[in-house]
């Protein structure tokens, strides 16, 4: 065994997990990296538009402070300001590092990194690599981690699914239980420091999401059920521009609006550019929550959806086709490929879809959860986006949080006294999870877990996305309890094989998805205000007196218990968030 004797388990191989793994391996400690899929296929590849950093290559006066202010303002003041400030200050150095790793960022004529405009930002600060920036960043980090894998410092467990954290009586993390998705073998893995980097829970909304099929939120949900607090769960970002598909919603990047795309519907026989009319200061580049609600208003309240359907136009057909191909080729290709029309000629038809969870596992400013030694980073943490995430801040927050969590885990191990033996604890956890699998394989319930999942997804989409009403939220929670009951008592796994049993794995995930659905719904029910992505017509204004607070959900046998925590607002005093005028 190489390394300096320390070992950290990283769960998840997207940008956050790889960033953490890289820092840990570089420090000489060993990494065991668990992922449901080969890490190179993680959901981070889906991010199209870019990554924010105030590098100001065009000398417009951008700065880390402006980036910080845009992020806090865009997040409607719910994000803790100290960590966000740290992220924005670190961003330019992160971009430099990615550049050195060989990321194929687009270039200026001088050969330096180019930047583009993005929603909610008054300066151009989004570095990008074609239309697949997330994929390109993923590959660079994957390659660096592979380098350490070749040196023996990183061991990958690909096609392994996280089932539970192992936590001792002193509330310390002692390892994990995971399941091979090939042999279905259940095994406990000891580690005194574990980093969860398992992404978002988009599949809680069924197929009405831009998330990858692997983004069930199951791992975070399992942590929650084992006593890890979950924060701001009710803040779910709905992306304004997605293509409607049977299997998922496909994102059309905000960069389309950044490069000059206009949103409109026909009204009185003419195009009506409603975002430009309603929000003259930002126009088509208003943040995602504002654009989404505007589209909902046009379609549902004003009944102006294109051809009477629930879609609006996103139009780039007025722009030069060669320019479009150069700047947005990959995005437009997605539309052409999955719809069949050429957006250079025909306006795209789009509608909002669930995209990102601002909420996630509660972490302190060093990425540690309320369980000692258990860290979280990336979309599965709650720290960097407040009530609404700005476009192109997700790739940044994943890498930044991974870069914090990795060294924090190593430091935690260094400071650790000798802990009592955990062998029995690990064996018990392993047996519990194995027994759960065996129970499922014996059950012959008639309810199909995939059908149950779709039902839950539609329920959540209808009631807990853009417009939230308390009576409907209450009803949703009652229905979730009913779905939970059917899951526990009437569901059956439609496959009994002990090899590559995907339905068994999915059935286990569903339990955690239901738990998170309740956290999201009850968090929304309790928050009687409108802030960022969370909008209640009954309470249309932000209420700082009562709700400038982080929601913190703790697990109990009777469901989530909510408490509220002060937000760190020491640098920028909250002000009204308006996009019809300059901020």
């Amino acid at each position: 065994m190489g390394g300096n004797g320390k070992k950290v388990i990283v769960v998840g191989g997207g940008l956050a997990g790889l960033s953490a793994a890289l820092k840990i391996a570089e420090s000489g400690a060993l990494v065991e990296l668990f992922s449901m899929v080969p890490v190179r296929r993680s959901h981070s590849v889906c991010a199209q538009g870019g990554i924010n950093a105030a590098t100001d290559p065009h000398g417009q006066g951008d700065s880390a402070w402006e980036h910080f202010d845009d992020t806090i303002y865009g997040g409607d003041f719910l994000a803790n300001q100290t960590p966000v400030k740290g992220m924005c200050e670190a961003a330019p150095a992160i971009i430099d590092l990615l550049d050195r790793m060989g990321v194929t960022f687009n270039r200026t004529s001088e050969g330096r990194l180019d930047v583009r405009a993005f929603g909610g930002a008054k300066f151009k600060r989004t570095a990008f690599a074609g239309a697949t920036t997330g994929q390109q960043l993923m590959y660079a980090l994957d390659e660096q981690v592979r380098r350490f894998e070749a040196q023996g410092l990183v061991t990958k467990y690909e096609f392994w699914e996280f089932l539970a954290p192992v936590i001792d009586d002193d509330r310390r993390c002692r390892g994990i239980v995971a399941m091979s998705l090939d042999s279905m073998a259940v095994r406990a893995f000891p580690a005194d420091a574990v980093i969860m980097a398992t992404g978002g829970p988009g599949l809680v909304y069924g197929t009405n999401t831009t998330n990858s099929f692997i983004n069930t939120g199951s791992a975070a949900g399992a942590c929650f059920r084992h006593g890890v607090d979950y924060a701001n769960g009710e803040f779910i970002q709905v992306h304004p521009t997605a293509i409607q598909g049977e299997d998922k919603r496909r994102l059309i990047s905000e960069s389309v609006r950044g490069e000059g795309g206009r949103v409109w519907v026909p009204k009185d026989g003419k195009p009506w550019y409603f975002l430009e009319e309603w929000y003259p200061a930002y126009g088509n580049l208003v943040p995602r929550d504002i654009a989404t609600r505007a589209i909902f208003k046009v379609v549902y309240e004003l009944d102006l959806g294109v051809e009477g359907r629930n879609v609006v136009y996103l139009d780039v057909s007025h722009l030069d086709p060669a320019y479009l191909t150069k700047k947005l080729g990959g995005v437009l290709e997605i539309y052409e490929k999955f719809v069949g029309d050429d957006p250079r000629k025909i306006p795209m038809q789009i509608f909002p879809a669930v995209h990102y969870s601002m909420g996630g596992l509660w972490v302190d400013f060093g990425q540690m959860t309320n369980v000692a030694g258990l860290f979280a980073a990336g979309e599965c943490d709650y720290q960097y986006h407040g009530a609404n995430r700005l476009g192109a801040n997700s790739l940044l927050s994943c890498i930044y949080a991974g870069f914090l969590a990795g060294p924090a885990a190593v430091k935690y191990l260094s400071g650790l006294q000798t802990l009592p033996d955990a062998v029995t604890l690990l064996q018990q956890a392993e047996k519990r999870e194995r027994d759960a699998n065996n129970e499922w394989l014996k059950k012959d319930g008639s309810e199909n877990p995939y059908a149950l999942w779709r039902e839950m997804g539609n329920l959540m989409t209808e009631n807990v996305t853009v417009i939230r009403e308390n009576p409907k939220l209450k009803l949703t929670d009652e229905k979730l309890l009913e779905i939970k009951d059917r899951y526990e008592n009437r569901a059956g796994v439609p496959d009994k094989a002990l090899w590559k049993n995907q339905p068994l794995a999915f059935t286990r995930q569903l339990e955690n998805m239901i738990a998170l659905a309740r956290v999201i719904t009850l968090g929304a029910l309790a928050r009687n205000e409108s802030r960022g992505a969370h909008y209640k017509p009954e309470f249309p204004d932000r209420d700082d007196a009562n709700f400038l607070k982080t929601t913190r959900a703790a697990h109990s046998p009777d469901g989530p218990v909510l408490t509220y925590e002060e937000v760190d607002i020491q640098f920028i005093p909250p002000r009204e968030r308006k996009y019809d005028v300059e901020k």
């Binding site: 820092k23 570089e26 899929v37 080969p38 190179r40 296929r41 993680s42 959901h43 590849v45 889906c46 150095a93 971009i95 430099d96 590092l97 050195r100 790793m101 060989g102 194929t104 687009n106 270039r107 200026t108 004529s109 001088e110 050969g111 330096r112 990194l113 690599a129 074609g130 697949t132 997330g134 994929q135 390109q136 660079a140 390659e143 660096q144 592979r146 070749a150 990858s212 099929f213 692997i214 409607q244 598909g245 049977e246 299997d247 496909r250 994102l251 997605i334 999955f338 870069f403 199909n448 995939y450 059908a451 439609p494 496959d495 094989a497 090899w499 590559k500 995907q502 339905p503 999915f506």
Partner: protein, 250 residues
């Protein structure tokens, strides 16, 4: 293609690596805008075959469903491609689904492509950075050079090129087009070029670039239109140069 009311899918199934394969037929209600993934998802939610007998859901690999992750490669009507971008309306019916043939089957349409990730180690498909500390920006790269590198860097390790290549099979050690193209990508980068000989030497032995039979199937199979044959030709030139002059440089 006529929009009949139902879709017939013929799927080649195999319960495990050492098990015999068999065909199973499914009939699903037709809806507009379906792709192969949504058809497989329909089977998950209601695993009943065309004979109206209960069966198990079909195993396959998928993740992003928007053709950037490379997971859902399979043979669809005999052609290896991504299932997510295979639109039902554009396919001949009945639709025939098979696992890729050049990789070991794990179960049903799910194959084991781990060799492709091992091949990336073999060609050192990475930049040897000094560390993750702050060390300023990377080298300047012209927009033209970036555009070329970006095209190569979109390789999703999906395996379509290997599946289509006649030189790739269980009796051949040929590394295949994608890893060769990645070696070209890293040799193009100013920092990567500092270690280009190591990549080239890895491709000079058995299974290396000279095992290419020039069938050119790979460029037609690549869902990202990566100029794989250009990459192979370029690496051929680079290895020849190294073989001829490499010893003089030392």
């Amino acid at each position: 293609m006529a929009n009949e009311k139902s879709i017939i899918l013929k799927i080649q199934r195999q319960p495990g690596p050492d098990k015999a394969s068999f065909w199973e037929t499914f009939e699903l209600p037709y809806r507009k805008n379906m792709n192969v993934i949504s058809a497989l998802m329909e089977i998950q939610a209601n695993p009943v075959n065309a004979q109206n007998k209960r069966t198990t859901p079909v195993a396959w690999e998928c993740s992003c469903l928007e053709e950037v992750c490379g997971a859902c490669s399979m043979r669809i009507n005999g052609r290896t491609r991504q299932a997510c971008s295979a639109l039902i309306d554009e396919l001949e019916r009945p639709i025939v689904l098979q696992p890729m043939a050049k990789f070991p089957v794990v179960r049903d349409l799910h194959v084991d492509r781990s060799r492709m990730f091992e091949d990336l180690k073999r060609v050192r498909a990475w930049i040897d950075i000094d560390g993750t500390h702050a060390a300023g920006p990377g080298p300047l790269i012209s927009p033209h050079q970036q555009a070329l590198m970006y095209i190569l860097s979109r390789c999703m390790t999906c395996g379509c090129c290997l599946d289509a290549c006649p030189q790739v099979n269980s009796r051949s050690p040929f590394i295949g087009p994608s890893a060769i193209s990645q070696a070209r990508l890293f040799n193009m980068h100013p920092t990567g070029a500092m270690h280009k000989d190591l990549r080239l030497r890895a491709l000079m032995g058995p299974g290396g670039v000279t095992d290419c039979g020039n069938a050119q199937n790979c460029i037609h199979a690549c869902p990202k239109n990566i100029p794989l044959t250009d990459s192979i030709a370029d690496i051929c030139r680079q290895t020849t140069r190294l073989a001829l002059f490499g010893s003089l440089r030392k």
